[in-house]
Amino acid sequence: MSVADAGALAPARRAPFRSPADAALSAAIAGALAWLAWKVVRWAVLDATWSGDGIEACHARGGACWAFVRDKARLILFGTYPYEEQWRAALATALVIALFAATSVPRLRRPALAWAWLASAGVVVALMRGRGAGLAYVDTSRWGGLPLTLVLATVGLALAFPLGVALALARTSGLFVPRLLATTYVELVRGVPLVTVLFMASVMFPLFLPSGWNLDKLLRAQAGIVLFAAAYLAEVVRGGLQTVARGQLEAAAALGLGYLGTMRFVVLPQALGAVVPPLVNTAIGLFKDTSLVVVIGLLDLTNAAKLAMSDPRWLGAVVEGYVFIGTIYFLFCFTLSKLSRSLERSRAHA
């Protein structure tokens, strides 16, 4: 082992069977893992029930009741979106997933992809909402499941990010009023749980609107998520701004770049590059936090699953429901982490 390796990691890298004690410990851990794996495989595969039309069909075998997921998949995935129109929700979801996939390929990350995201936002809304283009109108109150979760998270991040950058710039600027406003905003929003923000967005927004105006419930929830996420993103970006050396500002100033040019071309590219991991961390957190829209009665992926579990025919199929949506959440969040690592690699010069 080289000297460089002999740090805190050294014990973990040691051969697992060097001494009798090591061997015993390794064997014990391997045994426990194997036992656990066997239990999981038995529950999830060997003893599982794959078809049937009620929880009773599963009781006999004792394993996982995948028949529940099979029966309720469309309710969980699309909520109460009209059954005959669910192909539209599925298409919209596929479009967003395709864009996520494209974004995780470094070669495809060009300006055109940003335009594709923007254009597909319009397509997704047109598909989901209908009215015109020969599609029946579906009110946003009936949107649900995975497409709703994706819309809330993606639009939330897309709008919260520029707002967060603006807040961070205001907070680090030398100007007193913008700094005070940004600091107050960030501290207020961060000090309040998302549930509260959503409640306020749902209940209080309408009080401020002129009478007769009614803002869509989905829009209110979306606004709440954007305003909430922006505060967190602002702090992450501010951390990035602090990593940019003062000399960079001076060099930009000496070259005649003004404030906006300096920020856009010199400071922000470096600042954002430095905080990719915490930015993605915040994005992942937000993705999962969208499930809190249950408090204002929106039926996102989590809440559609809960609705499915409350069907009297399937009472008790709780673990299966959560495993199913957990897997979906995991796939998206894992893609985001992979994206984070690929972004870090592509900016690692020399």
């Binding site: 050396a245 000496a254 070259l255 770049l257």
Partner: protein
């Protein structure tokens, strides 16, 4: 050595009675200096003498508290248009290079011409490559700053400033952060620029450079401009006690060769 412009032409930099405080500390105490078009002035003095602060005032990286600075007929005041006009004419090279690490060498050079001077990208690239060739780094255009040595980075920084076609170049201890074997390559570039008649104000401890290239040496101590004289006179027969003491220190420090910091 080329002659600086004859005295009939007005000086390109006129500094009158410049004062600057950092809190309670009075770091510039009434500095007045005129620099002629095409002249190279080396500013030297012990550390803490205010020489860096002085040249950083010339493009307003530091705001002066009293006195006036006029650069090519433009008075530096709180007017942002004046400031931008001055910065278009004045390039600056820093001790720590301050290249933009996220941009390639070529992008470092073309950023300001394209974004500030609104030069067409193709034209800006052609000009940038020509300037890189001049500092003998044309082969490194596609590299990132971190892939270059200190001396190469500083030459890129000089080329980056030249891309804005400045009338005046400020050098703030351009070789102080370099390994000894890289100092000469940077000084060679600076010497060439001075010979071509660019107006330069250089803060440096390189007394060899001052002796060979400067038209005048300005000696600062404790925030005051103590003595301004042609190098032959300054090094041969310094007028002030403080300058004699400073030069004596330098000579004792490294046997009269290159003056160390």
């Amino acid at each position: 050595m080329p002659e600086a412009t004859p005295p009939s032409e007005p000086p390109i930099i006129v500094v009158t009675d410049l004062h600057k405080w950092f809190g309670a500390q009075h770091v510039l105490r009434g500095v007045s200096l005129e620099v002629a078009r095409g002249e190279t002035v080396v500013v030297c003095g012990p550390s803490g003498s205010g020489k860096s602060t002085f040249i950083r005032c010339l493009n307003h990286l530091e705001e002066h508290d009293r006195g006036t600075i006029m650069v090519d007929g433009i008075t530096l005041d709180r007017d942002v248009r004046h400031l931008q006009a001055v910065r278009r004419e004045v390039g600056m090279v820093f001790q720590q290079f301050n290249l933009f690490p996220h941009l390639t060498v070529l992008e470092n050079l073309t950023l300001a011409p394209v974004r500030v001077r609104k030069t067409k990208p193709v034209a800006a690239e052609r000009q940038a490559l020509a300037l890189l060739d001049r500092v003998q780094l044309a082969d490194h255009a596609a590299k990132y700053p971190a892939q270059l040595s200190g001396g190469q980075q500083q030459r890129v920084a000089i080329a980056r400033s030249l891309c804005m076609l400045p009338k005046i170049m400020l050098f703030d201890e351009p070789t102080s952060a370099l390994d000894p074997e890289m100092i000469q390559e940077v000084l060679d570039v600076m010497t060439e620029l001075a010979r071509e008649g660019l107006t330069m104000v250089v803060v440096t401890h390189e007394m060899g450079f001052a002796r060979a290239v400067a038209h005048r040496v300005a000696f600062m101590d404790q925030g005051e401009l103590v003595e301004v004289a042609p190098p032959a006179q300054f090094f041969g027969a310094p007028q002030s006690e403080r300058a004699r003491e400073f030069l004596g220190h330098l000579l004792r420090a490294d046997g009269g060769g290159r003056g160390g910091a």
